[in-house]
């Protein structure tokens, strides 16, 4: 299979020298993200997230299953991340790359283990029937920072998804179609969002150069990376740093603060995109939707 094209020495020196002076090839600030664009599909739980040239689709689907015997009160939630040659010819079908493994583990840690989704709310009849949610992530185009994009896409899709109303009477379970009853949103407890820092060694002042939202070119040249998952309340859900250049504790603290600050902005972007879609979907009439809300006013 074809390898990613190797970056020439001249290009490498150019990019690294520029970064030491806090300049980036695409003209961005070292702490700024590319523009995030959301587009939603016709059905609930489908979102297309673009971060520059990186593009990830997320789709949530639900089905009713029998719960696991050791967890009779809980529904299930799985995230499937499979990269194909569509994102980049160097990804092969059925042969996961390191990035593939890192990504699925990070999403698992960030979203599932941080209990962003209340699994008990997916229970229909204890030990009999529960909802099984599935998030399918499709990577369409790879230009760096797949982890953050995938996390944003999953959270946005979960927040966009609506579960059909189910009524239980005795043994019978009735699933009401969308046209009959207003479907309800999932109970998402918080929105954990990943922010990945790329490290490029120390600059002239002896400070670590840490870059946010690296492109594929920068990712190929970086000396180390670290992913911090924070929610908008500033609670750190996980920090993952596997290998790469050593980082001082002070730098780590700085990164975590920076991440918390960035997440607030991303959170607002997601919320406004969801709001925009809700208005477009209901053509300005939002009153009837309030009845379908499962969350309380806070």
């Amino acid at each position: 299979m074809p390898k990613e094209p190797e970056i020439s020495l001249a290009e490498k020196t150019f990019v690294l020298e520029a970064l030491k002076q806090n300049l980036r090839v695409d003209g961005r600030n070292i702490h700024s993200f590319r523009d995030i664009q959301f587009s939603f599909g016709d059905d609930y739980g489908f979102v297309d997230v673009r971060l520059g040239k990186t593009r990830v689709l997320a789709r949530i689907s639900a089905e009713i299953i029998r719960p696991r015997p050791d967890r009779p009160f809980e529904g299930t939630f799985t995230i499937s991340t499979e990269m194909g040659p569509m994102a980049s010819p160097s990804f092969e079908v059925g042969r996961p790359t390191d990035l593939d493994n890192t990504l699925s583990r990070l999403l698992e840690k960030s979203i599932r283990r941080s209990t962003a989704l209340d699994l008990e709310s997916l229970c229909i009849v204890t030990a009999q029937r529960v909802w099984s949610l599935r998030a399918d992530l499709h990577f369409l185009s790879h230009d760096g920072n797949l982890i953050d994009t995938a996390c944003i896409a999953t959270i946005t899709a979960l927040a966009h998804f609506r579960l059909p109303v189910v009524t239980v009477s005795g043994e019978d379970i009735t699933i009401h179609p969308v046209t009959e009853r207003v479907p309800v949103p999932l109970s998402l407890l918080h929105w954990p969002i990943c922010v990945t820092f790329s490290f490029f060694g120390e600059d002239d002042d002896g400070e670590m150069v840490c870059v946010l939202d690296a492109t594929a070119q920068e990712e190929a040249l970086r000396e180390g990376d670290m992913t911090v998952t924070v929610n908008k309340n500033g609670e750190v859900c996980q920090i993952s740093k596997s290998g790469g250049v050593a980082v001082e504790a002070e730098t780590l603290m700085k990164c975590a603060r920076k991440a918390a600050e960035k997440v607030k902005g991303i959170d607002k972007l997601i919320a406004s995109a969801l709001r925009g879609d809700e208005i477009a979907r209901n053509k300005g009439n939002l009153d009837w939707l309030k009845e379908g809300r499962s969350e309380n006013e806070r």
């Binding site: 599909g41 599935r134 499709h138 185009s141």
Partner: protein
């Protein structure tokens, strides 16, 4: 020449990282497909052909992991492309096609997915500059029960009847008077209409009118292309259907491809 509700939404090269890509949305069933083509690439030694390029088609489902249905779809696309792509121009290379089902009314229905997949793949091959013998186009036709009085919504020009001579695509369906046993045909039906159909036919023709693929399925009414009642379809009806399909593919289909490519004059 065609009424606009029948023209698919096509966006070319939406993916900057691949050699050629295309996003295709069927106007009636809202099925959206995204395909990317990479090639000619380095081929794995076990797939290498001494005199030809290897064509690899990967169909990725919208929900879940790829299974039998996706394998079937990719083999149908593969066999169609085998007769279109000039594989001897790039021997010992790989032409890799990835088709992603982005959105579909029914992610499990093979006939509803096949036509958009084929059309999208052909457009992305053209954009990627893969040498092809000719251009193909595919159309999905559903034949409805003679007495079906379903009040489904269709776009203008989507429905026509199989009569002695098909009177063009402008026929409106008047369900009030079904004089004789005249089969009603809906092109590119959505899942609701396919559920009412007696049989479903995916026809693919090249620009010159050669038949490239027939994928016909008999369905018993109301089961959405799942099971059959064993009555089959009439050969005379089928021949008329094929004639109409050929007209749609060779005239309208080629026109759509030309319009989509615009000033990128490929053929």
């Amino acid at each position: 020449m065609t009424s606009s509700p029948l023209i698919p939404e096509i966006s070319l090269n939406p993916l900057p990282q691949s050699d050629g890509s295309c996003q295709y949305t069927c106007p009636t069933s809202r099925t959206t497909i995204l395909t990317s083509v990479n090639g000619p690439l380095e081929v794995r030694p076990k797939d290498e052909l001494p005199n030809h390029a290897t064509i690899e088609v990967i169909v990725k489902p919208g929900i879940g992991v790829a299974g039998v249905r996706e394998t079937r779809l990719s083999s149908l696309i593969h066999s169609t492309l085998q007769s279109l792509i000039l594989t001897n121009h790039h021997p010992r290379t790989l032409i890799q096609i990835v088709a992603q089902i982005v959105q579909a009314e029914d992610h499990t229905s093979l006939p509803l997915l096949l036509t958009p997949l084929l059309n999208c793949t052909i457009l992305s091959l053209l954009i990627a500059g893969i040498p092809m013998r000719t251009v193909g186009w595919s159309v999905h036709l559903a034949v409805l029960q003679n007495n079906s009085r379903g009040n489904f919504k269709t776009a203008e020009g989507q429905v026509f009847k199989l009569e002695e001579k098909t009177g063009g695509n402008g026929d409106k369906m008047d369900t009030e008077e079904n004089e004789k046993a005249v089969a009603v045909v809906v092109r590119n039906p959505n899942s609701e209409i396919l559920g009412l159909a007696k049989s479903s036919h995916t026809l693919t023709f090249s620009k010159e009118g050669e038949m490239l693929l027939i994928e016909s399925l008999e369905c018993s009414q109301g089961s959405g292309g799942e099971s059959a009642d064993g009555q089959g379809w009439d050969i005379t009806d089928f021949l008329k259907l094929a004639e109409e399909g050929k007209r749609i593919c060779c005239e309208e289909g080629v026109e759509i491809v030309r319009d989509a490519l615009g000033d990128r004059k490929v053929f």
